[in-house]
Symmetry: none
Subunit: 234 residues, 2 copies
DNA sequence: GCGAAGTTCGACATTTTTGACGCAGTCGCG
DNA sequence: CGCGACTGCGTCAAAAATGTCGAACTTCGC
């Protein structure tokens, strides 16, 4: 079984060394980066299963790094920091981090939290680059969409929304869940955003002849929306 | 929009009260239990989307509770404790907990961690996806119902009611219990709601030819209702 | 200035709640 | 024994509450 790949991002070489030693000893494969910018570069060639990042760094700090990663990948992120203020923790977690650990910490605790986090993670399923369901052909990497052989241009938010729904097609996705997934941790109350974007998607996805063809996006009043991609997976 | 259900398990009434207040104010629906044993009981009738438990409790402590829950459900668990020893944290996380927070903590941090945890969780809804009993085929995730091969559209409340009855089929469900489960803790007196919704369900579930076929939903006068899904589970 | 994201608004639909009514069974009383 | 009052149940329909749609308007970043 391929070892779990962990990217450690920290500007203090000593910490990085300690982590590398402790984690390598436990069977993980480690790479390190000393700031956010180089971390993103490393991720290009070496997509990790988990990212551990310090909060304060030159170039691009952990918070910004977390946000950047989240725009394109659901890889689990654990944030380390000496700062113990609640505000900072909330910021990091809402930016998309999965856990926040205050220094100093024991390596055993870190490893236990790594295990707990990976247990939840969808693991390598993110490697899926193209989704083919029903009338839809979604190229995740290129962020392009073809419906019934025709290319449809979507704005970023529209694409995220459609992708998320496609990944859970058939299921009813509750308002809160969708909002949390696309717009992030807080703002789970703006159901209006959903209405607007669902409306725009419907308009863009609809066949040219707008007969009373069934919608791809079905609304479940009071609950949320359900995505039905058409023929092949009813 | 159905709120997220959180079960708080703590033997100190004061903590439980504070959590209930803080979380309710943020739109979560809360139930509390004072020890592991009663927590498991509550989960029977009211499956939560997240469990928050204290570590030290009479009857069954948080560690044991975590293990028991994990034997039958993937629901996210957050452990609270005054104990800050690494060994304890590792134990709890490895028992299946998703996060471990040391008291004292700020409510904002707790809420941020709740959000982060829920973001990862597959949500209880999706866990048990299809229920197949008698003439009924209930897709919980998609919130769709087929009776004798025919799709029947139900409104949210109707669906919740039917689902709850189906999950306890055969048993007599008391008025209060049903009302509490579908309409929430208070309003356990509006037996009229039940009459109306049971009536609507009966109408929608009835075979086209309304012969004197036996009802799926049987009235137990003075007590409540009983669900009999048909052939396979008499 | 432009395009996209975020926000607001009014018309419209559906669901939920509430109230009224009839039916059937039970009980007490003449 | 028969009859009316009472109670719980089922049905119906109007009222109230809430959600949805679609479009237009504002804000933001480049």
């Amino acid at each position: 079984m391929k070892p779990t790949h962990i990217l450690v991002v920290d500007d203090e070489p000593q910490i990085a060394r300690v982590l590398r030693a402790g984690l390598t000893a436990r069977g993980y494969e480690i790479r390190t980066a000393s700031d956010g910018v180089s971390a993103l570069e490393v991720m290009q060639d070496w997509p990790p299963d988990l990212v551990i990042t310090d909060l304060s760094m030159p170039q691009m700090d952990g918070l910004e790094l977390t946000r950047r990663i989240r725009t394109k990948s659901p890889v689990p992120i654990i944030v380390l920091s000496v700062r113990d203020q609640e505000r900072v923790k909330v910021q990091a977690l809402d930016a998309g981090a999965d856990d926040y650990i205050t220094k100093p910490f024991g390596i055993e605790e870190l490893v236990a939290r790594i295990r707990a986090t990976l247990r939840r993670a969808p693991s390598v399923e993110e490697a899926v680059t193209v989704l083919n369901i029903g009338d839809f052909h979604i190229d995740v990497a290129a962020r392009r969409l073809m419906v019934r052989g025709r290319e449809v241009h979507l704005t970023p938010k529209e694409f995220d929304l459609l992708l998320h729904m496609a990944r859970h097609s058939g299921k009813v996705l509750q308002h809160r869940a969708l909002l949390a997934a696309i717009w992030g941790g807080d703002s789970t109350e703006q159901v209006e955003y959903l209405r607007v974007f669902v409306g725009q998607l419907r308009k863009k996805l609809k066949p040219d002849a707008d007969t009373d063809a069934p919608q791809y996006i079905v609304t479940e009043p009071w609950i949320g929306y359900r995505f039905e991609p058409g023929k092949s997976t009813p």
